[in-house]
Symmetry: C2
Subunit: 207 residues, 2 copies
């Protein structure tokens, strides 16, 4: 949970620094994120002392520290698996680059897609994943194939020696314990949103 909040702090500190403010107080940072100031101070204290009395936190210092904890003070080369609609959109997504991730290779199995160029990358055949992963030091993969192809693709990703998979397919992947995963199931997010909207309506109807 703390690790999840570190990402939020990082994003907010980058915005603050982008607005030419060098420091921020725990209470301002907390308010911007809908947290309490004591929660913010507790989170940072957990990783060491960063604050300056009467000044607050130095944004650049805190950004660097959070990045070193998260492991994103360097750039992670990432492989995109699946170059359909969603994959192509992810290639165009600018948010990754700013945060230390660079999609350096894209793969698919559809003959019609292989060799095509998207955002400066030429789509390669999945058979080349292992070699490319090795030569480009790729440790992370974004899996954006249809549900029916996800399990097989995940096996190929693992066989290629990649250690982390961000899975967009609506399938629960079974992976060896040495491989990490995060699942982004957009329909599940929408369901949670719908439930929240409905819960508020139900509460209102009851009042």
């Amino acid at each position: 949970m703390v690790i999840g909040r570190l990402s939020l702090y990082l994003r907010e500190l980058q915005l603050v620094l982008g607005a030419n403010k060098d420091t921020i107080s725990s209470s301002t940072l907390a308010r911007r994120l809908g947290l309490t100031a004591s929660q913010v101070r507790k989170d940072f204290a957990y990783f060491g002392q960063f604050g300056y009395p009467g000044v607050g936190y130095r944004c650049d210092e805190l950004i660097q520290k959070i990045r070193s904890i998260l492991g994103t003070e360097r750039v992670w080369p990432v492989a995109l698996i699946g170059c359909g609609n969603l994959g192509q959109a992810l290639l165009g997504y600018r948010g990754f680059g700013n945060q230390g991730f660079s999609v350096v290779a894209a793969f698919d199995k559809q003959p019609g897609l292989i060799g095509k160029n998207f955002e400066g990358l030429t789509v390669q055949h999945m058979d080349e994943l292992g070699d490319t992963a090795k030569s480009r030091n790729i440790e992370l993969a974004i899996l954006a194939v249809p549900a029916s192809a996800a399990t097989e693709a995940a096996q190929e990703i693992v066989a290629a020696g990649i250690s982390g998979i961000m899975n967009f397919a609506p399938v629960t992947l079974k992976l060896p314990p040495s491989v990490s995963k995060v699942g982004v199931d957009l329909a599940i997010e929408l369901e949670q949103l719908a439930f929240s909207v409905l819960a508020k309506q139900r509460t209102k109807d009851r009042l």
Copy 2:
């Protein structure tokens, strides 16, 4: 947390039913999702009794029950705000339709996009959002604009009377308490993945 798991159960039960199995035991369902059987039974007991001794759960019955809890036994009309790369990919994303969501209108402010047709929808100007939301009973919006445009777009969504926003922009939205939100920040998900990969490497290096 239970609500989050209901979505996972629902997805898995749909796969089971799709494979022509009418019933499932709590232990099988648990194993498929990496949970314990007692957790599964506890979750379902929380909402009433669904299991049959010696049979397990009837998939169709449980699917219907979960959908009625989540509010997705009906179809929610959804507005897409932002029709760039990501927005267009989301329009093509097939996962929403199966789960009770239908993107029925798409909006943007870029003159070059308005009037264009994607996946059968004609992009409308944001100025029409309020009228369309009313006439189509739209309660949910998917926000897929750049970070710089997100705050203003969110205000327009709220002004249009929409009660839930799924936000893809890497910005923490400030919304009235009557409006629900879920944030999908893809860079944050990748950060969490990178941290998990790194944590495993650090543990291994220490051994």
